[in-house]
Assembly symmetry: C2
Homo-oligomer: 130 residues x 2
């Protein structure tokens, strides 16, 4: 993890390492505040600002991705690969979806628009809420 940060030109501070460690393999797509609350007990000096800064830097460096599925909060995913997400209408949790949408080619240009990418977000009810 130390090397990852170095690669992005970021200093390896304890805060960043803690955030990275918590994110590692995490499939809960936590928000900044959730990360902060999880880390705060063991890291009393941590500030929300730092969590935001770190997530911003990591996302910018492509090490994590920001999920734009639940508009009420920014969510982050340690898996930088493009994949699909599912938002539960009831409990508001976000899950990874293990599907392939065949024949779904993203056009590079549509009319006058220069397309950089797209989000495909599913919603409904999760196993616990349906």
């Amino acid at each position: 993890m130390n090397d990852m940060l170095k690669k992005l030109g970021l200093r390896a501070t304890p805060q960043r390492l803690a955030i990275l460690k918590l994110l590692q393999g995490n499939t809960a797509h936590p928000s900044a505040e959730e990360i902060y609350n999880k880390l705060k007990p063991d890291f009393p000096s941590l500030s929300l600002t730092t969590v935001y800064n770190t997530l911003e830097s990591l996302a910018e460096g492509g090490m994590i991705q920001e999920i734009r599925i639940d508009c009420s909060r920014r969510r982050f995913d340690p898996n930088p690969q493009p994949h699909y997400h599912f938002l539960c209408n009831k409990c508001r949790r976000v899950f990874d979806l293990d599907i392939n949408l065949i024949n779904f080619d993203i056009p590079k240009q549509v009319g006058d628009f220069w397309v950089e990418g797209c989000f495909v977000n599913f919603y409904g009810y999760c196993m616990d809420c349906k």
Copy 2:
């Protein structure tokens, strides 16, 4: 428009009619605040609360749809049909996309999840910003 409101069990107030009229054929996907600002000069007593209430009711009744593409603000579209949207990374405007994604079937169930629907949102740069 009077009838539309009646059909939803909503009283035809001047505020609602003004909002409906402004929305009519509008492809700018305005936010509540944008609608409020447009209407305020000709309708000084209008309140933001009423704009929110009205948009909420109309969306609930299926007369308009809420667009979840720009997480920094709620946006509304008078076209209740499902269609694709494009968000410009620079000017933050939202456009309708006139494309059909063939062979894109939404699965009703994925793993343990009960899928109600999905959003497909494109982003990039618009004609003015690219």
